[in-house]
């Protein structure tokens, strides 16, 4: 996208006589956008600073971009709990397995509905598209998962969301744009549909599949509601996001207690506080995404435009 917009630039880039008004506008625009970046980033940096600041000191307030009284106690406390390692493992597992299953299954079904000669093509397509408009809702879904015996199981993270209609449609559109001759030549060599899909179509689809994989991975990594709904009684299946959610929920109900805690003399003796644990856990849950994101950003944006054009 950035490239696309940039390509219109050279035509009007050499300013012959930019007026005073234009220059004022330019300066104001740069200042404003810089301010906007600060406002966007500040909450992250502030939370980071609070997480690295001694809890007894944070309570006094006034932490901005830099810890006032540096301390790693908060992180020590968070990483002292055995649950966090297990939760990280489950988060990674659901992200990896969920993404692989989604990408493979979506591509395979997309391939079948891209074959014009397939007799069930319309039926399969319509069956999927209807689910864009209608869903059973929370309670019927919960009862279904319960009746399927998926409560307290890892597979509840994977099975309900294998194929998303939107993904299916963008992959199908992508396959339909591939030259038919490529697929035909595989046929002439005697390859069946499955072999054609695996050997020819799947590798050719990697650009669009990368986008689908990224969005699925973000979705899986960020999910917490299914953990809360189905697996909250089994701490072994907890994820990082859900561990954070539990902390938020606790500090939410005790936020007035927090102030009392601040005023009490006990506050100074304790090494961690709900506030500092909350900030630390927030950073722990956010960091993997923030580290990976800048490298993958252009693929996300590409995916948005693919969807925007064809979806």
């Amino acid at each position: 996208m950035a490239n696309a917009t940039a390509s219109t630039r050279p035509a009007r880039s050499p300013r012959r006589n930019s007026s005073l008004g234009d220059r004022v506008f330019d300066i104001l625009n740069y200042v404003f956008l810089t301010l906007l970046m600060v406002v966007t980033l500040y909450p992250f940096l502030n939370t980071l600073a609070v997480s690295l600041n001694a809890a007894s000191d944070s309570i006094k307030g006034g932490i901005h971009l830099w810890p006032r009284q540096f301390s790693s106690e908060n992180y020590k406390f968070v990483f002292n709990e055995a649950t966090i390692y297990n939760a990280t493992l489950i988060s990674v597992l659901r992200t990896v397995i969920g993404t692989l299953v989604t990408v493979f299954a979506s591509a395979m079904v997309a391939y079948t509905i891209s074959r014009q000669e397939y007799v069930l093509r319309k039926l399969v397509t319509i069956a999927f598209i209807i689910t864009m408009y209608i869903n059973g809702g929370l309670i019927p879904n919960y009862l279904l998962i319960r009746d399927l015996g998926l409560i307290n199981s890892f597979w509840v993270y994977i099975l309900p969301g294998i194929i998303g209609v939107f993904n299916l449609i963008i992959i199908r559109s992508f396959i339909e744009q591939l030259p038919e001759s490529v697929i035909e030549s595989a046929r002439i060599d005697g390859a069946g549909d499955f072999r054609t899909f695996i050997n020819i179509v799947f590798p050719l689809c990697l650009p669009v599949l990368a986008t689908v994989a990224l969005f699925t991975a973000v979705y899986q990594w960020n999910s917490w509601f299914d953990v809360f709904l189905y697996n909250s009684s089994n701490v072994k299946l907890s994820t990082l996001q859900y561990e954070l959610q539990k902390i938020l929920q606790n500090s939410n109900t005790t936020s007035s207690a927090e102030t009392a805690f601040a005023n009490s003399s006990a506050g100074a003796a304790v090494k961690v506080s709900p506030l500092s644990i909350r900030a630390t856990m927030t950073i722990v849950a956010a960091v993997p995404m923030i580290v990976v994101y800048p490298f993958l950003q252009k693929y996300f944006v590409k995916g948005m435009t693919v969807g925007g054009v064809k979806g």
Partner: protein, 324 residues
């Protein structure tokens, strides 16, 4: 939308004429590989997406979990009647509409303005940096976002510090922002903008990039300044996209989101934060009133369905007729 052509297509492959049945079966056998590759997922789809719709029957029953389906007592629309006489549901409906309304208007205004300003940036590197930074909050989970927002809004958080710095409040008067029910919509709106404004500009930037540069040159010749070009060329250029997206978003009017309200909500702000989704969760899974919760969920889905279909229809007509 690409999917509509498949929807409106009248001929269904599943209904071959008796004479064609043999041919159909023959084709099916010869295409068994394609069948094997897709039908298992149609079965999956049926179980996970269609069976729950059957669960809507609960909304019409005096549902007893211990009884079999045939033994359930049918009560007609009783649960819907009690739903609409329930104050809490009406409040959650109001909150849903208010918050999605805020999201819609605020989201559009901020995203379009931001896209317009970004488009005026000539230094490509600077533009890239702004884009990268502004997309970032979109990729963190609402849990993380809520953690950050709670940290910012805490009595000892930065926002209170800022207010103290400007002398608007004294020490000891710190606000418990999330405890002020009537402020919740504002906090929700601001949080949503912070999280998604950058991401929402993508589609507008794409639309802007397809505007003919010659238009700008002509305007420049006529002596139009930056603001004028923005107002008379860029904005009209992306007007069709804005209108189509606006209409499409009206289809999601009952989808005000669940996560931000749930994660930032608490007992003190419930009167303003509780929307239909939270109502369903609380009545259904915390008080085990399955029928009432299912009725509320069903109401939401059916109304959304009607809205979405009308919106799709209108958007498609506008797109084809190029009215704007």
């Amino acid at each position: 939308m690409d999917n509509n052509d498949t929807l409106s297509a009248p001929q269904l492959a599943a209904k071959p004429r008796p004479a064609g049945l043999k041919l159909f079966m023959k084709k099916l056998v010869s295409q068994r590989m394609l069948v094997l590759m897709s039908v298992p997922f149609v079965i999956w789809l049926f179980i996970f997406k269609y069976v729950p719709v059957w669960g809507w029957t609960i909304a019409f029953q005096d549902y007893q979990p211990s009884l079999a389906f045939k033994e359930q007592q049918w009560v007609g629309f009783d649960h819907f009647r009690s739903l609409f006489s329930e104050d809490r549901f009406l409040i959650s409906l109001r909150n849903t509409l208010a918050m999605s309304g805020i999201n819609l208007v605020l989201g559009f205004v901020t995203a379009v303005s931001f896209a317009l300003l970004l488009n005026e940036v000539r230094k490509v590197a600077f533009k890239r940096v702004v884009q990268t930074v502004s997309y970032l909050p979109h990729f963190i989970s609402w849990v993380v976002a809520a953690g950050i927002i709670q940290t910012m809004l805490a009595p000892d958080g930065v926002v209170n510090e800022l207010l103290k710095g400007f002398g608007m409040i004294e020490k000891g008067q710190e606000y418990l922002f999330l405890g002020k029910a009537e402020w919740f919509w504002g906090i929700f709106g601001a949080s949503s903008v912070w999280k998604d404004v950058g991401w929402n500009t993508i589609v507008y930037l794409a639309a802007i990039s397809s505007i003919d540069p010659a238009q700008y040159e002509a305007a420049e010749m006529d002596g139009a300044g930056r603001l004028r070009r923005m107002w008379y060329i860029t904005l009209p250029g992306i007007k069709p996209v804005i209108i189509v997206l606006l209409i499409m978003n009206i289809g999601y009017l009952l989808e005000s989101g669940f996560e931000p309200q749930y994660l930032l909500g608490n007992g003190m702000n419930a009167a303003y934060s509780e929307n239909i989704d939270i109502f369903v969760l609380k009545y259904g899974l915390q008080q085990f009133n399955f029928p009432l919760a299912t009725a509320a969920g069903m109401f939401k889905t059916v109304v959304s369905f009607i809205l979405l279909f009308s919106a799709n229809h209108i958007a498609k007509r506008l797109g084809q007729d190029r009215l704007f």
